[in-house]
Each structure stands twice: as C-alpha cells, then as structure tokens.
C-alpha cells in the first residue's frame, strides 16, 4: 500500500512541476497516451484490496478480543465466535458492539471507535479514485517526435497583391532574441 502511495506521489510531484521542460519521462508518456485515469483506477484498486485485507484481519482480532473482554451481548457471542474466523466486515461487529452498549451497558467505547473509523475508512476508500481524479486538469505537454517530409518551396510562386487587401493571417514565427540599448 505504501508502494502504491509513493508511486502516486511521484505522479503528483511530476504533475505539479511548473517548468514544462521538467515534465518529461515516464509520466509524460502516461499522460500523452491518456493512461492517467487508468493508472489511478488500478492504483486505487490495489489500495482498496490491501485495506480490505487488513481490515478483515483486524475484524478477526477484534472479534477475538470482544469475546475475551466480554464486550458483546450474551446472545451475540456465538455469532462473534464465528466472526473470529469469518466476517463480512467491521460494520457487522460494530453493530453488535453498539447493541451491547445500548442494551447491556457494555463499556466498549474503544472498540466502537476503532470499528467506526474502520467503517469510515472503508467507505472513504470507495471514493479514492474520484478524490484523486479531482486533482486532474487538462494539460498541454510536448508530444512525441514525428518525422515526415515537408513541402517548403515553389518554383512558380503566385503574384502578390496583398498590399491592397487585408492580410489573411498573422502567422507566428521563430526569432532570435534581441536587446535594446541607447
């Protein structure tokens, strides 16, 4: 999960560089080919898998400790025993903790808080992709180098009459820098 975070951080660091000449390399290719969104989707999927796995393991631990420290109602303990080896997430255990707190006056504040935050981070992780993509903006970058044959001159140029007609365009050109002195 940390590796993915570092991977994404390098993308963000590259994207927030101000000088366009610094914005080259791997990430430039990713953006030019329109792979930025896919990178985010795959990265956040990896993060979510890691988080879900860790949360699941934590749920087993919490279920065990809930039995050990008697933090659920008596009638929920059989279900909690099963949750030690298989659970459908922190929300189920949280529900039991809350029921125990309200109906049986169990002192399980720490467990409730832990599970609440786990549910919260689990929900937030579903929005990671959207949140990361909110940082994206349209960007103009140097593309790939293309070689081709370019027509450049004519043996039979046309007559010029523009002195009396409005110029069709004011084309850009390249120029050497110059300075002013007096």
């Amino acid at each position: 999960m940390l590796s993915v975070a570092v991977f994404l951080a390098s993308f963000w660091e590259w994207g927030n560089r101000s000088a366009i000449e610094d914005r080259v390399g791997f990430w430039s290719m990713v953006v030019i080919h329109g792979w930025g969104n896919r990178v985010i989707t795959l990265s956040t999927a990896l993060i979510r898998i890691c988080m879900a796995t860790q949360v699941l393991i934590c749920c087993y631990m919490v279920a065990s400790m809930a039995l050990e420290y008697d933090q659920v109602r008596k009638k929920d303990k059989d279900k909690m025993s099963i949750y030690q080896r298989g659970t459908d997430g922190p929300s189920s255990i949280l529900l039991m903790f809350l029921k125990a707190r309200w109906s049986s006056q169990k002192r399980n504040t720490t467990g409730v808080l832990l599970l609440t935050f786990m549910v919260l981070t689990g929900f937030a992780s579903q929005l990671f992709s959207t949140t990361l993509l909110s940082d994206f903006a349209s960007e103009v970058l140097p593309g790939t180098l293309v070689s081709r044959q370019i027509p450049y001159g004519s043996q039979n140029p046309d007559e010029y009459t523009a002195f009396t007609s409005k110029p069709r365009e004011y084309p850009l050109f390249a120029e050497n820098p110059w300075s002013v002195s007096s």
Partner: protein
C-alpha cells in the same frame, strides 16, 4: 544583436538601428503552427535591418515630384555608419551622389518612398509642425530632420517637411532551422476598434505588434511575445525578396506595389496610396499596423519592419499550396492530456490511508497484548475453550455451555 537609437536634437542628428532581425517561418498551416513544441526542418528565413538617419539631399522639386541624390552626410552620421553600416555595404568611401531617388513627398501625413532608383533605401517624408515657417534652420529630432524644401514650380510654395532615410537590409531565403516553444501559442488577430479613442485607426493592432516586438521598446523574451525561439538556422538559398520582382527559385516573390514605379506610397489617415498612375486603396489593416507601430515606438524603422514582416509572411503562406520542394523534418506537437495539477485530493487519500494504518496498528498492538493472541498459536484448541478457561468466573453461560458440551 541589438536595437540602438541615439536621440539627436537641435543641430545634432540622431540615429536608429533596428538591429538585425531573423525570422523563420515554418511551412506548416496555422493549425499545426500553433501546436508546435519543437520543429527541426525546412523554413523560410527573413532577415531585416533598418538603419535610419538624416542626410542632406541634392534635389529638384518640381510640382509634386522630387528627384535628386543623397549628399555627403555629417561627420557624426559617417561615424555611425562606419560603426554599423556593414550589412548595408556602406563605408566611409561611399559615393553618396550616386544614390538617386524619385519621390512624391507631402502627399499626406507621411510619405514612404521606395523604388529601384534608391534600391535598398527608404525615404520617409512627413508634415512639419509649422510647415509655413520656411525661414527656420534645420532642426533635428531623433533620426528625423525638419528642413525647408524649395519647389521650383511657382504654383507650389516652399514648405518645411521632416524627413529621414533608412538603409534597409531585407533578404529572405529557404533554409533549415531548429525552433521550440515552452508552451502552445496562439496566433494574433486584428481586433476591431481602436485601443485609444484619440486615434483614427480602425483596428486595434496591439496583439500583432506584441508578436512582432514593435509594441514598445521594452525588452521582451520570445515567450513574452508569444513566438517561437529560433535555436539555430542556416539559410541554404537566398532569394531576392524585396528587390521588386526578380525571379526567385524557391521562395515566393512579393512586391511592394510602390516599388517598380518609383513613386511614393502615401501613408495618410485615409489610406490612399499611389502606384504609378493607378490610385489604389492601401489596406487599412496594414496601414493601422504601420501607424500604430510608429506612434507606439516613434521609430519609422520598426514600422517598416512590421509591414515588411507581414507582407512577407502573407505572401509566403499564400503560396504554400504551390510548394513542391520537399525536405525531411521532425515535429513535436503539444498534445493535451489529463494530469494532476494540485495536491488536495492526493492529500485527502493519503490522510485516510494514514488513519487506516493507525487503526490497523492499534488493533494489532491491542491484540498482541491480549490473551487472544496466545490462543491463536493453539490451532487444535477452539478459541471458545480458551475463552471458557479465562472467563469461567465471569459466568459466561454460553461459553460455559460450550465447555460442558
């Protein structure tokens, strides 16, 4: 490479040197030009330099037509020319009396005279502030001198006019260049309406002047002007652009309509021009670019440079469909894509990831310290048995029942 001006006044002549300007035009349509990040390939290079200063005239002014030659300049002008006259083939031994001119000055506010007779020179006449005060001595201001001109035709009075002459170096040719831009550019357009209510111009030409570098005398980089930077160039074959209709092999011909006829182009507020015996309406957009440049910079050399650039470019691109010579080039375009441009979303995500890691770590620490952690190393012993042994005294009936079973 620099632009240099020396303001003379009173009896001292001033000078203006536009500096050597090299402009490379890429043979690509506008849609491709504006997307260029870098380009290495064939180009058309326009070289320009205007050196403007006052010079005495030996003239005959009969009715509206003035003919004559240049006269020996002052020592100060000669020194200036010696320092900067290289590209113009001017030296201290130049025979000025062989530089002939034919002009029709005083046709409007400003008259620009060019033609084969004065080859690579432009003569510019303008109205003096006090045209009838003909007894005053010559007065200098910048590159201009105000002098009294005597008309030999009795029907036309003597008149005071200001004038200057500009040696011009204008060459173009096809070659090869490397150019680049730090950002994608947009081409300037003429805006309808004056930028200054005090002016009579119809068009706001400031965007074009900015690109041409003739909006003010401030130093501006290529990026500030919105043009490409010319990294290197080599002209392989010069044409004779600007020498009025000589055939060019690989570059298009463009002709000042005033050139072949030895007559003046009257650049006045009405945009009237005269080419030989044919009256033509000078394009007002071009006229406004000329006038606005002159007003903004005060330099006739820069106004001529601006018009020359536009005419050359317009001709070049007008002929682009006829280009048949081909050369290899490499092009890198700017392309648009989606990239992260702020840290907010990333920060939120990292924040939740840290919170998650804190929660997981907390659970692990608490779990490791609990007796449940010891029991997980006993796989054959169900957890609830361990639970019963530790909680028997707590009257856990369910666990107790399990243990009994």
């Amino acid at each position: 490479m620099e632009r240099k001006f020396i303001d003379g006044h009173g009896s001292s002549p001033g000078f203006f040197d536009s500096g050597p300007v090299r402009r490379a035009f890429v043979p690509l349509p506008a849609s491709e030009r504006v997307a260029l990040a870098s380009y290495d390939g064939p180009v058309n290079v326009l070289e320009m330099q205007y050196l403007c200063f006052p010079i005495p005239l030996n003239y005959i002014w009969n009715s509206t037509k003035m003919t004559g030659t240049f006269a020996q300049p002052s020592a100060r002008v000669l020194q200036f020319i010696a320092e900067r006259g290289g590209p113009f083939n001017l030296t201290s031994t130049t025979d000025w009396s062989k530089i002939e001119f034919t002009c029709e000055p005083n046709m409007g506010d400003l008259s620009v005279c060019e033609g084969q007779s004065i080859g690579s020179w432009s003569m510019i006449f303008g109205k003096a502030d006090n045209p009838t005060a003909t007894t005053l001595p010559d007065e200098y201001q910048g590159e201009w001198v105000t002098s009294t001109f005597v008309n030999i035709d009795n029907l036309y009075p003597n008149i005071r006019m200001k004038y200057t002459v500009c040696a011009k170096h204008v060459k173009s040719g096809d070659g090869h260049a490397r150019i680049e831009s730090k950002s994608n550019l947009t081409e300037p357009v003429l805006l309808n309406g004056t930028k200054d209510s005090g002016r009579e111009a119809k068009w706001d030409t400031s965007a074009i002047q900015r690109v041409l570098g003739v909006q003010s005398m401030e130093r501006r980089s290529s990026q500030q002007r919105g043009i490409f930077q010319l990294l290197s160039h080599k002209v392989i074959e010069y044409g004779v652009t600007g020498i009025y209709g000589n055939g060019l092999n690989y570059v298009p011909v463009w002709v000042w309509c005033i050139g072949p006829h030895h007559t003046a182009l009257s650049v006045d507020k009405y945009g009237r021009s005269t080419c030989g015996d044919i009256d033509k309406q000078l394009n007002l957009a071009l006229l406004d670019i000329f006038n606005n440049t002159l007003i903004d910079t005060g330099r006739i050399g820069l106004a001529l440079e601006a018009v020359t650039s536009i005419l050359h470019a317009d001709t070049y691109y007008q002929n682009m469909p006829r280009f048949e010579k081909v050369a290899a080039g490499t092009i890198k375009d700017f392309v648009s894509g989606q990239a992260p441009r702020r840290w907010l979303g990333f920060g939120i995500v990292v924040g939740f990831m840290i919170l998650h890691l804190v929660l997981v770590t907390s659970v692990i620490i608490v779990f490791v310290r609990s007796r449940s952690f010891d029991n997980i190393w006993k796989p054959d012993e169900p957890m609830y048995v361990a639970l019963i042994s530790s909680k028997a005294e707590s009257q856990n009936t369910v666990s107790y029942a399990y243990s009994r079973a």
